[in-house]
């Protein structure tokens, strides 16, 4: 097993201007990504954006039409999957039902021709690491979803891979199990010090797990940065929307702040904000200096447990705003958005 290490900053995995096409459709368009040794980078995006294709290109299941992929100085672009030294954890786990837990975990070592006692020792280590002691002889069919996930992780880690590739490994789990395993996975990755690329469409998962996040949109990296950067300083309306700031409204900068509606003189822009950063107030409430005020009416109320989420219709737009106070549908309200909650982008041409 590799000694625990921290991300060093030197590129260990380098995808250099990688393009992938399926027929006439370009799925990845000159994507460049570097991952430092011991770092976990999340590829975040919606379905069909190309994030899994990038992962599969690194694993060798997809051949790039352009660009190259380098791991630890070795160009692996044209190598077959079995010669790359990477290990992938699949969305379906892809555990082989005709083998028991120990045989699944030890498979990669058998393929490397390791002696039987060494394989048994390593499998034992993995079972202990993943809290699966005593499960070695179990059939795969007898495992729960969480246990299968651990076995799949153990199988990938057992070969001490150069890069661990994880393709939405938690998407098939219950919410509670997912939360628990998310933290376990992060702790394990840091303890083992393995370099990892993690594909997910779950924003929260990416923020919790990753050292850096690459938000992918239509085959390109829309933003690459730390979770804090991507969450608080999105570089585009798409990233802002994907990171939860999906309320968007046209505003104009006049006087001492942004105002709505954007009909008056001044600099026009498109502002995004999160539902939980705005609040509702009675109509006519003084907004205060720099606070954006939007007058509208409640058209829908959703109960979240600790508070309500309201859909507010204002002008031609609808927004979602969280508020603890119960209001009736149809009630006139004023939406107040503090200046530090506004993510402002140039208005579309």
């Amino acid at each position: 097993m590799s000694p625990p290490s921290q991300a060093t900053g030197s590129p260990y995995l380098h995808a250099d201007a990688v393009s992938v096409s399926y027929g006439a459709t370009r799925v990845l368009d000159r994507v460049s990504l570097t991952v430092a040794r011991g770092e976990l980078v999340a590829l975040l995006g919606s379905s069909g954006c190309g994030k899994t294709t990038l992962l599969r290109a690194i694993a060798g299941f997809v051949t790039p039409t352009e660009g190259r992929i380098v791991v630890d100085g070795r160009d692996i672009t044209r190598l077959p999957p079995e010669a790359r030294g990477t290990a992938m954890m699949f969305q379906s786990y892809a555990l082989w039902p005709h083998m028991n837990v120990a045989a699944n975990i030890g498979y990669g070592l058998r393929m490397r021709g390791r002696p039987r006692d060494e394989i048994a020792k390593r499998v034992g280590e993995m079972l202990r690491l993943l809290q699966l002691d005593g499960y070695g002889e179990r059939s795969i069919a007898a495992l729960s979803g969480g246990q299968k996930q651990r076995v799949a992780l153990g199988r990938a880690l057992a070969v001490d891979p150069s890069v661990l590739l994880l393709d939405e490994p938690m998407s098939n789990l219950d919410y509670r199990v997912r939360l628990e395993l998310r933290h376990e996975l992060r702790a394990l990755q840091q303890r083992v010090g393995i370099t990892a690329v993690y594909v997910t469409h779950d924003r929260e998962e990416a923020l919790t797990l990753a050292d850096r996040i690459a938000v992918i949109d239509a085959g390109r990296i829309a933003q690459l940065g730390t979770p804090d950067e991507v969450f608080h300083r999105p570089v585009s309306p798409f990233v802002a929307g994907f990171m939860g700031a999906d309320n968007a409204i046209d505003v104009v900068h006049a006087g001492d702040g942004w105002s709505w509606p954007a009909g008056g003189a001044g600099t026009r822009a498109r502002a995004h904000f999160r539902a939980d950063r705005a609040r509702l107030a009675p109509p006519g409430t003084d907004a205060g200096r720099g606070t954006l005020a939007i007058d509208g009416a409640v058209v829908q109320r959703v109960y979240l447990g600790t508070q309500y989420r309201y859909r507010v219709h204002a002008g031609a737009d609808d927004f979602w705003v969280d508020d603890p106070e119960r209001r009736d549908e149809g009630a006139a309200v004023r939406v107040l958005v503090p200046p530090d909650a506004l993510l402002v982008f140039p208005a579309a041409a």
Binding site: E82, W96, G108, S139, A156, V159
Partner: protein, 277 residues
Amino acid sequence: MRSRPWAGLALAAPALALVAIFFVGPLMMSAVLAFRGKDGGFTTEHFAKAFELYSTDLLFSAVIVVVSTAAIGAVAIAIAGYLTLGEHPRTQAILRWLYRWPLFIPFIVTAQVMRTFLAKNGMLNHVLIGGGLIDPLQAQSLLDWRGIVIAFVWKQAPFVTLLLAGAMAAIDRQHIEAARNLGAGRLRVLFGIVLPQSRRTLLVGLVLSFVTMLSVLSVPMMINPNSPTMLTVDIAYRINSHGDYAVANALCLMSLVLASFGAWFYLREAARKVERT
């Protein structure tokens, strides 16, 4: 809701009656006649005669079908494996199109094709001589046990391949990718991952082929009718030339015993699967 057990039986009755009248009845009659002497009493003389005359052919039949079954399995695994794990889509498409042809060719036509292909002056030897691979004096006829095996494999391998390729295609693709990702080459993926997950289908195909080959008359009759030959030829001979239904029935029961080995093998595997689950 009231349960009506007779309603279910009534629904199944026509099918059961057909099976009883057209299959179980004649089979029982054949078995009874195999043990009935000229005086109408019980006897084993027909079996003794069958063994005396045709024990070599019994062994020959068993060897032919076992060897053919093994060869069919090997060919089916090779073709289905390539269709599942190959990396050249065009070659796969051509192979997928080609391998099914023998499925639509009757056994009698297969036998005739093999006669012209495997004879001493047949097409195979012409190609080998023309290609400089053998001298004309080395040319030999393959119209013996080898011809029967080749004909059976040519005819039955596509059937097993069809079943096996379907089963392999149904395996989650990620199972294959996971193995390759962990360092397995395609051959190891085939034998370590794909085949174990589709072996039941392979087994069903092989058992069905085994039983089918035991019942084929045209191929041994046209390729190798002389002794030793297969039991089907002997059965036809006893009936057509001697009107000897008693010995023919004894030979049929011997064929049935051979066929039931295939059924036993299949049922044993099915029982193991039930135990595992």
